[in-house]
């Protein structure tokens, strides 16, 4: 056979191959070497078919084996005669493989005319299993009508063991994932339970609602820094008989269960002390004694607090209070000014010998509001990582706010706290007592 080259001359391509080998940029091949190759090369297609490094199988459309190569016969331990016309391809598969063949392989082959790389196991004459990869193609006639199925079969023992490793790894990963999920759910349930305990305990340390005081508007707010930990801030308002009411607000050192225990002791001590003697100095002194007696040495703890009484006289309220190391309260006056009460200098409670407390007394005229707070407010960062709020800024804030009733003051401060967002790092308690404007 000849073909026309680019320059239009006819050349015998076979004769050219040797003569022009050096022109084509390939390696030089001389006639002798070519002859050697030819001798080595497969000159028998039958030999190539039978001894190919893979199994060959031709089956009729119904699966009956029509032709099989020696390689596959050897792998399976069958003779050619045992297979051809006697067995179907599916007969060579394991039972599970047969199911897979019928439900996946055969439908795919019927629909697509070819299926490649399906992992199956063949069963040898002695029952031995041979993992293989199977590829099948439907041979069609001139009209496109299917005639027979040609199948190649590759030994996949090594590959299958590798895949089994992969599968095992995948299953382990899935198992680990499931276990991690389980652990996460358990931890979440634990945390929810803990938060519930914290929330209930926290509530037990605060009054469920402020009692109504005739003629007085009282409002409070508590912001816990964390739902996971009990805070150490506290406040209360309670009747002392007649026209007199006791109140306090403070901050126990620390957080968590230890702080909760101290807070509990502080609250009951203060309430009891007020009943014995309503003088705020006496009350704080009694608290100091109780804390010092209970928490000594290593256990030593302390708190800051403001305690006082409010007594109704006509349309006014006389307030007497004392501070032990606590930030000074603010007094929002009816005239639109705000002043810081001079209660600095009082001792921390429960930590020092020879304590002294800073008293203040004044009258809540109609339109005046007393505001007590803990240092969660004044030490909040105005934005995450930013500078801290301060007593000075709070004073300016109150000055702008006045005159304002108790609830209005608390609402304004709640808005302020919300603006701080994450900057609000500590618990914050607020208590406002207002004499409503006439």
């Amino acid at each position: 056979m000849s073909k026309t080259s680019a320059d239009g001359s006819d050349r015998d391509t076979k004769a050219d191959a040797g003569a022009h080998a050096s022109d084509t940029g390939g390696e030089d091949v001389d006639e002798a070497e070519l002859a050697q190759f030819a001798a080595l090369l497969e000159d028998s297609t039958q030999d190539l078919y039978d001894n190919a490094p893979c199994g060959y199988l031709s089956t009729m459309l119904d699966g009956r084996i029509a032709k099989v190569n020696a390689t596959l016969c050897n792998w399976l331990g069958y003779t050619d005669e045992q297979l051809v016309g006697r067995k179907r391809f599916a007969d060579l598969l394991t039972v599970g493989g047969k199911l897979y063949h019928e439900t996946h392989f055969a439908p795919l082959l019927a629909m697509q005319q070819q299926v490649s790389g399906i992992a199956l196991e063949l069963k040898g004459a002695d029952g031995r299993r041979l993992p293989v990869l199977v590829t099948s193609v439907v041979k069609t006639g001139a009209e496109g009508q299917p005639l027979l199925i040609r199948t190649t079969i590759f030994d996949a023992r090594d590959r299958r063991s590798y895949e089994k490793e992969l599968l095992r790894a995948r299953k382990q990963a899935e198992q680990a994932f499931t276990e991690a999920e389980e652990a996460r759910r358990t931890a979440e349930a634990e945390r929810a339970r803990l938060q519930q305990v914290v929330s209930i305990l926290q509530k037990s340390l605060l009054p469920p609602a402020l009692p109504p005081v005739p003629g007085l508007e009282a409002a409070a707010y508590y912001h816990p820094a964390s739902v996971d930990e009990i805070g150490g801030d506290f406040y209360d308002l309670f009747p002392l008989g007649g026209e007199r009411w006791g109140f306090f607000l403070g901050d126990v050192c620390g957080k968590g269960p230890e702080a909760a225990a101290v807070t509990s002791l502080v609250r009951y001590t203060l309430r009891a002390a007020f009943l014995v003697d309503p003088d705020p100095i006496h009350t704080l002194t009694a608290l100091d004694a109780a804390l010092t007696e209970r928490y000594t040495g290593e256990e030593m703890t302390y708190c800051t607090a403001i305690a006082g009484t409010v007594t109704r006289t006509g349309d006014k309220f006389a307030v007497a209070l004392a501070s032990g190391g606590h930030p000074p309260p603010l007094l929002l006056r009816a005239d639109g000014t705000a002043q810081i009460l001079p209660t600095r200098g009082g001792s921390l409670i429960g930590a020092l010998p020879n304590v002294h407390f800073a008293p203040a007394s004044f009258t809540l005229e109609p339109g005046d509001t007393l505001l007590l707070y803990t240092d969660g407010l004044t030490e909040a960062r105005t934005k995450s990582g930013g500078p801290r709020y301060s007593e000075g800024e709070l004073h300016s804030f109150a000055d702008r706010l006045a005159p304002a009733g108790a609830q209005a003051s608390i609402n304004a401060l709640m808005e302020l706290l919300a603006e701080f967002g994450d900057g609000l790092e500590d618990d914050t308690a607020l208590l406002a007592l207002g004499n409503p404007a006439a």
Binding site: T103, A106, A110, I118
Partner: protein
């Protein structure tokens, strides 16, 4: 998602014809009916669908608990019937779907006027107590699950649909994709267990509609003893042995299969 979208429901064929509901079995999807569809669509209104967990159904609707009993698959069938307001339909179920049809017809008889069971088996597991020859044991099913698993690795890369050109076989269309027979292995495993470990022999007696049993001459999954068993258990049923090899006569002998279905469905009233 509504039921029609969830189950990838396709309604085709002659709108005025009797409704045939074609239900695929374990392994592939509604494309199993491709080769018999053209002939059936000429005479009948044909409803095709994929069970959740197969083919083009919404995998988001998968619920391993629901689909671990054949009743869950019957739920799919009845929900599709309700969505399409089907009555007097002929249900054609291949393989495990034949039994799904039995369950669905028992629950809502008014939906169905006839039942075609293609290569059915009410129970694939041998029952030594009664001598029932299911043909398989639990280990065989484990082997099948292994096959599903080991082929998943090879298939995962091909999960994305690939448009297949079929110039030689225009009847397959261009839209047929590699996803035919490619199922999430976890879902396929549940469907395989449900298919091959269920025993619905007792339900055969509940069949109260005309029934055609189509078995294949050579079928390793549902051999002829099983066809005879189903036929005997459903009084008044007709048994036809198709000249087909394998478990899918709608693919290996589409003409004969289509003719039998059409003749039966055309005669029911």
């Amino acid at each position: 998602m509504d039921v029609v979208g969830r189950n990838n429901v396709v309604v085709t064929g002659r709108a005025s014809g009797r409704t045939l509901m074609l239900a695929h079995g374990f392994g592939c999807d509604q494309n199993m009916w491709r080769l018999v569809l053209p002939a059936l669509a000429e005479r009948f209104r044909v409803v095709l669908f994929d069970y959740v967990g197969s083919g083009g159904a919404d995998s988001g609707a998968w619920d391993p608990e629901r689909y671990s009993t054949l009743d869950g698959y019957a739920d799919d069938v009845l929900e599709i019937c309700a969505a399409l307001e089907l009555t007097d339909a002929v249900f054609v179920g291949h393989s495990v779907s034949a039994m799904v049809g039995v369950l669905a017809a028992a629950r809502e008889p008014a939906r169905f006027t006839g039942l075609v069971m293609v290569a059915p088996s009410p129970c694939y597991i041998d029952d030594p107590a009664t001598g029932y020859p299911g043909g398989f044991d639990a280990d065989d099913i484990d082997e099948l699950l292994e096959s599903l698993d080991s082929n998943y690795l090879g298939w995962s890369a091909a999960m994305a649909p690939v448009i297949m050109g079929n110039p030689d076989r225009p009847e397959l269309g261009q839209e047929l994709t590699r996803s035919f027979c490619a199922t999430d292995p976890a879902m396929a495993a549940v469907f395989a267990r449900t298919t091959f470990l269920s025993d619905s022999r007792a339900e055969l007696a509940t069949v109260a509609v005309p029934t055609l049993v189509l078995e294949c001459a050579q079928d390793v999954i549902a051999p002829r003893e099983i066809g005879a068993y189903v036929h005997a258990a459903i009084p008044g049923s007709r048994l036809v042995t198709l000249p087909a090899t394998g478990h899918c006569p709608q693919l290996s002998a589409p003409e004969a299969t289509g003719q039998e279905i059409a003749a039966f469905a055309g005669a029911t009233r």
